[in-house]
């Protein structure tokens, strides 16, 4: 039987434990079909082993993990099952092998853990959205369901915070094979945490029109300290890189505008506007992907101006800045969503908060 590593290599799927050397294979339908088929074969083998109560683990956990991530690339949003099962199995196999052989790979361990947490956040949100999309769901039932959903989300955020703290610590660190790998892992958790916090706020905005007052109060009692703690932690691990800085300033801007909008916190709009500026226009010579990172803050900035009469004088410049950012941005990921929302805001159209949450609360 062909080794999984050879199978992936023969299709041009080369994974270094964090990134693919190229994503050209995603464009090849036949390759994607073969990968999909292989994933199913492995999942069937795992299920058979479970039914027969065998404890044998898959042998090549690194390639299995690579296959899990590859499948998530071409299957896209809403297809979390394969990634969850294969990445989970790869991680269990790694730990079993670690106990048996002492073969340590802390970086791989944490890539698996991060994949699990990211996928859990996606899974919980999609399950929540699928449930509330069912016919006949009342506002009260949605509100109840949301409270259950945010408990799962806040647990995942706390777990991400612990892992960021663990992987990012400089004094008495874990044994990553190199400082470079430790830095990469801490950055990956940092990005996941920022994304999770962003999603947490977007998801509340999505259900806010139907949420019950006491539920909203409970949400803010829980979310306030959680987000504050997460931001304090992120501040410790923010490095000098532009993407890291932009993402941090953006989550700060979102936090400010979010709490002013939905609570009685009194932060002057000008202060929130300054924060949005720090996340959008305080840079020169950004790479396209770095400019992409500013798009969410441009959305926040335009929303803030629309909501506050006193900021209207900045509207023309903010529109121009947002259009310039769209022009200079990388066109991958959720570029089209950002472009649509920015144009809706420019045209003074209503922004669909459900769409915003669905598109931007899972991946950045």
């Amino acid at each position: 039987m062909e080794r999984l590593a050879d199978f992936l290599s023969s299709l041009g799927v080369e994974y270094d434990g964090r990134n693919f050397s190229s994503l050209d294979w995603v464009e090849n339908e036949e390759t994607c079909n073969l990968l999909h088929q292989k994933a199913f074969e492995i999942i069937e083998a795992i299920n058979r082993q479970k039914e027969e109560s065998k404890t044998d683990r898959i042998g090549d956990f690194r390639s299995t993990f690579a296959l899990a991530i590859a499948c998530s690339h071409f299957l896209g949003k809403g297809h979390w099952e394969i990634k969850m099962i294969l990445a989970g199995e790869a991680h269990s196999s790694y730990v079993s092998n670690l106990v048996k052989t002492g073969d340590i790979d802390v970086f791989f361990d944490h890539q698996c853990r991060k994949a699990h947490l990211d996928t859990s956040l996606e899974m919980h949100y999609l399950m929540f959205r699928n449930l509330i999309a069912q016919e006949g769901m009342t506002g009260e039932a949605i509100s109840d369901l949301f409270m259950k959903h945010i408990v799962q989300t806040s647990n995942a955020i706390q777990e991400l915070m612990r892992f960021l703290e663990l992987c990012g610590r400089q004094e008495h660190p874990m044994n990553f094979a190199s400082d470079e790998l430790q830095g990469k892992m801490a950055f990956d958790y940092y990005v996941s945490l920022i994304q999770a916090v962003r999603g947490f706020m977007l998801q509340f905005s999505c259900v806010q029109p139907v949420i019950q007052v006491e539920h909203a109060q409970r949400f803010f009692e829980m979310a306030g300290p959680l987000i504050t703690n997460a931001i304090e932690l992120m501040a410790q691990f923010r490095d000098g890189a532009s993407t890291s800085y932009i993402m941090f300033q953006t989550v700060m801007a979102q936090f400010g505008t979010f709490f002013v909008k939905y609570t009685e916190h009194e932060i002057p709009p000008a202060s929130n506007f300054d924060q949005c500026n720090r996340a959008t226009i305080a840079f020169d010579d950004l790479e396209p992907i770095e400019t992409y990172c500013t798009l969410f803050a441009h959305v926040l900035r335009l929303m803030l101006i629309r909501d506050h009469e006193g900021l209207q004088g900045h509207l023309t410049q903010a529109i121009q800045d947002a259009l310039d950012a769209l022009e200079a941005s990388d066109r991958s990921r959720h570029y089209d969503v950002y472009s649509n929302i920015i144009h809706q805001l420019i045209n003074d159209e209503e922004v669909n908060m459900i769409l915003l949450s669905d598109e931007l609360s899972i991946t950045w």
């Binding site: 730990v95 002492g102 361990d109 612990r162 703290e165 044994n175």
Partner: protein, 118 residues
């Protein structure tokens, strides 16, 4: 189902071991000697662990390995049944040493609410 350490387990273990060269886990019937600069440890364990000791021993080792520490030697210490006996017989600890270490360890031990009920 294999035990997979949580973030809390790993943080707690790292905070427990990072301050000193040795670490005794009475519930697991085991004591460890660390070389933190090399991420290595030696294990001294009671030779015949009871079920409770076994239940703690395996996860503790897994936690250390998950932090990236390599076990370079495992010494099964015959004729002892507890970690206290192990420290006395194989490491020359006196009763005073043990009590002093116990107090120090209780003072330094990282807090984890999961252990509050014990």
């Amino acid at each position: 189902m294999a035990y997979i350490p949580t973030a809390k387990d790993l943080l707690w273990t790292l905070n427990s071991i990072c301050q000193s060269r040795s670490w005794a886990v009475p519930s697991g019937g085991v004591a460890f000697i660390f070389d933190h600069s090399k991420f290595e440890f030696k294990t001294f364990t009671v030779a015949e662990k009871n079920e409770v000791q076994m239940n703690y021993f395996t996860p503790v080792i897994t936690n250390l390995q998950s932090l990236g520490y390599t076990e370079i030697a495992r010494v099964l210490c015959p004729g002892v049944q507890t970690t206290v006996e192990l420290l006395k017989e194989f490491h020359g600890f006196s009763q005073d040493d043990i009590e002093r270490n116990l107090i120090e360890s209780l003072q330094k031990r990282p807090h984890d609410e999961r252990f509050d009920q014990r």
